[in-house]
């Protein structure tokens, strides 16, 4: 019976450990389950910046300033990791636990507004008139969000590379044409000096695909949906221009100009010399400049027939529909929209300031500054992703279709199928009216 008594003692011991732990656990958890609301003048704020020290510090500073500036409301920050932020928000919305103030990825604003997550920013039109159009989240004629910054897509390379192979340095006014771009890539490939003549970061997932590659489609003259009424993608996503884009896109891989699957971190591959030209966001500027200094070039995307295009709209701030103190949330939003805060967030995130006054305060974005061209790209080439609640579905469908095309699917058939699916979704949701 030795085994019996020993095992019994172990079992009783384990239970003795588990029960107090579970009691302590439940007690601790139970006391912290309150959600965003007006209780006691506290306004809960959610942000996607957990782990992103720069941006979180800038937002925390704004909140601290606001809390000190008045005594009626106290804003409390809850930070979530970006990779899982949307799931957390959607889950909270399903259980009606959204906070009062939250940040949103720009293209999701129409969907979240339509779904009743967001409330319009009433009375802030004057304050927001100075912001870049691409950082304002609008739906159905109302503004639901504003952002402190935008980002731009650029072709990152080195002047010494272009000079060595006799490739012209393109400018905002004279970007590469499609033929010029293709010839440059072929020249780089023929040199044998690079594993990838061009890396378009196909290893990135999620929103990157529509953000990065739908501008190429638009530069050919196609689009994700017809923007006159946002009812159908017929002709826009499967018309002759779109098919031409799809063939060209696939051709980049079959001609060996672009890897089918990029490395886990294309910017690191560029810095390590594996890649000649990197298609990426301006967030790579700090690391690439650190590696190559003034030799680094941030070029405009090529004109593929319909002018150069880049994606517009980044993270923005709004207030939730179920916030029980809308006036308090709006008061914070107005306070936080000051130019000095736009400048501080843009500075700490190395992104494009959303107002001209803020740009003048941020080093690099002043007149003649090294980053001013990013602002110029955003102003001249940015195209917002379709402003329809159906966008998340369109984005998923486009991503799948673009991946299929890169992997060898028939371009016309793949695009037709995408149009069929998008149109069915728009219709089944009553065109989101």
């Amino acid at each position: 019976m030795k085994l019996t008594s020993t095992t019994t003692r172990v079992a009783v011991g384990l239970l003795a450990v588990a029960l107090p732990l579970s009691m302590a656990a439940c007690t601790k958890g139970g006391s912290s389950s309150s959600s965003g609301g007006a209780g006691g003048g506290e306004l809960t704020m959610w942000t996607h910046n957990a782990g992103n020290k720069g941006e979180l510090a800038a937002i925390t500073q704004i909140v601290n300033d606001y809390n000190k500036s008045q005594s009626k409301y106290k804003v409390k920050i809850q930070a979530f990791p970006q990779d899982s932020y949307n799931q957390s928000v959607v889950a909270a919305a399903a259980s009606k636990k959204l906070p009062c103030i939250l940040d949103i990825d720009g293209p999701n604003v129409p969907n979240w507004a339509w779904a009743g997550y967001l409330a319009p920013l009433e009375g802030l039109d004057g304050t927001l008139s100075k912001f870049l159009p691409s950082v304002l989240g609008k739906y159905d004629g109302k503004t639901y969000s504003y952002g402190y910054y935008d980002v731009a897509l650029v072709m990152v390379t080195r002047k010494t590379i272009l000079d060595k192979y006799g490739i012209r340095v393109p400018t905002v006014d004279q970007p590469w044409t499609k033929d010029e771009f293709t010839a440059a890539l072929k020249k780089l490939k023929a040199s044998g000096d690079f594993q990838n003549p061009l890396d378009i970061a196909t290893s990135f997932t999620g929103e990157w695909w529509p953000y990065a590659y739908s501008p190429m489609l638009q530069s050919f003259g196609g689009d994700l949906i017809n923007r006159n009424d946002y009812k159908s993608a017929e002709g826009a996503l499967n018309g002759p221009k779109a098919v031409e884009w799809a063939k060209w896109f696939r051709g980049l891989v079959t001609d060996g100009l672009v890897p089918l699957k990029s490395g886990a971190d294309p910017a690191k591959d560029f810095i390590n010399g594996k890649t000649a030209i990197l298609y990426n966001g301006t967030w790579t500027a700090v690391d690439t400049r650190k590696a190559f200094g003034k030799d680094t070039l941030f070029l405009p995307p090529p004109d593929l027939g319909n002018g150069p295009k880049i994606g517009g709209g980044s993270w923005q701030w709004g207030i939730s529909q179920n916030c029980s103190d809308q006036a308090g949330a709006l008061d914070y939003m107005k306070f936080a929209a000051q130019d000095k805060y736009v400048a501080s967030v843009a500075r700490d995130t190395n992104n494009i300031p959303a107002t001209d006054a803020a740009a003048a305060e941020v080093k690099g974005y002043e007149q003649g500054g090294e980053n001013q061209l990013f602002l110029e790209y955003a102003k001249k080439f940015a195209v917002l992703r379709p402003v329809t609640p159906g966008y998340p579905f369109i984005a998923t469908e486009f991503t799948k279709t673009a991946q299929d095309i890169l992997n060898g699917a028939d371009p016309k058939q793949a695009l037709d199928q995408a149009v069929k699916n998008i149109d069915a979704n728009q219709k089944s949701n009553g065109y989101f009216q």
Partner: protein
């Protein structure tokens, strides 16, 4: 070879019989045996490499700067601690996430779920396997049927219910379990697979032991506590390990049900490093730290784990 069909005789025995037949056959058999052993060793080495190298890569990379991790890819250096080696990634991890808090949360959630899971599931299995009651077979069938329902299907209804459930705590009755520890523990205590494993094991213990205990005046709880559970060590070890692993790796549910940083488990913490400029070295350092407890536990319990899977898994 009539012996080939004799039950209980393995390939080694057949080789031995053949060995004594003729010297030529003896030599051929020995050669075949040698080749088979060599192949077996090669397969084992290959399996060790397939499963071990990713861990080696993770651990080695956790000491390298990001750029070096990528420049070492594609050659043997990726698995060697060479180049610019430092603890910088580890200090970066501690500066970026509240690691101690996440670790403590995971330990609490996992230990409580494992212990309560062993108690609750073994009791349920005991009732089904030993007490026997009308409809017990149907109950077992229904429990087993839930195994085919993936958690993702249940997640949203579970979230909805978790938001509505009352809870008696220090503040009296409150509505909603979201953003608490209990929402990360209680839904995972009862587990169909654990009940099944216990049921299989309990069913194999001779029922005469119950009869003898009853004669001595023992009740069902006494039989469960003093006879059946002490004889079920391997099943307890298996259930403990099979509950521990998914609980330690919980990701989707905490994302949905927990908002406060002070209640998050370790797995959610890995998302803190996935920014636009991802810190790969820090990801590797963080992954190394959170994998260590799992590896230690597996090494400590592997004998019990293998024994119990081999015995309870094959029965029935």
């Amino acid at each position: 070879m009539s012996t080939a069909t004799t039950p209980g005789l393995g390939a080694d025995h057949l080789a031995h019989v053949a060995e004594s037949a003729t010297p030529a056959v003896h030599r051929g058999g020995e050669e075949r045996h040698g080749i088979r052993r060599a192949l077996g060793v090669l397969v084992r080495i290959a399996l060790c490499l397939v499963f071990g190298l990713p861990l080696v890569f993770m651990f080695v990379s956790s000491f390298k700067p990001d750029l070096q991790i990528f420049s070492d890819l594609g050659n043997i250096k990726a698995f060697l601690p060479v180049g610019d080696i430092s603890f910088e990634n580890y200090s970066g991890v501690f500066g970026r996430v509240p690691f101690a808090q996440f670790m403590m949360n995971s330990v609490i959630i996992t230990v409580v779920t494992v212990v309560l899971g062993i108690v609750v599931n073994s009791m349920a299995a005991f009732a089904l396997a030993r007490i026997g009651f009308k409809g017990g077979g149907i109950v077992l069938g229904v429990i087993l049927a839930t195994l085919i329902v993936p958690f993702e299907t249940l997640a949203l209804p579970l979230l909805w219910w978790s938001n509505k459930l009352p809870f008696l705590g220090p503040d009296g009755f409150t509505e909603g379990w979201l953003d608490t520890y209990q929402v990360q523990i209680i839904p995972f205590i009862a587990n169909a697979f654990s009940i099944f494993l216990f049921y299989q094991y309990f069913d194999s213990i001779p029922k005469e032991l119950d009869e003898a205990a009853k004669v001595d005046g023992a009740g069902w709880f006494r039989i469960y506590r003093s006879i059946v559970m002490p004889l079920s060590g391997p099943a307890v070890a298996t259930v403990a390990i099979l509950t521990f692993l998914p609980m330690w790796n919980q990701y989707l549910w905490p994302l949905m049900a927990v908002q406060s940083e002070e209640l998050r488990p370790v797995m959610v913490g890995i998302d803190y490093f996935k920014q636009l400029n991802t810190s790969w070295g820090q990801i590797m350092a963080y992954a190394s730290i959170i994998t260590a407890p799992v590896l230690v536990l597996f090494v400590a319990f592997q004998r019990a784990f293998i024994n119990s899977i081999a015995s309870s898994g094959v029965k029935g």
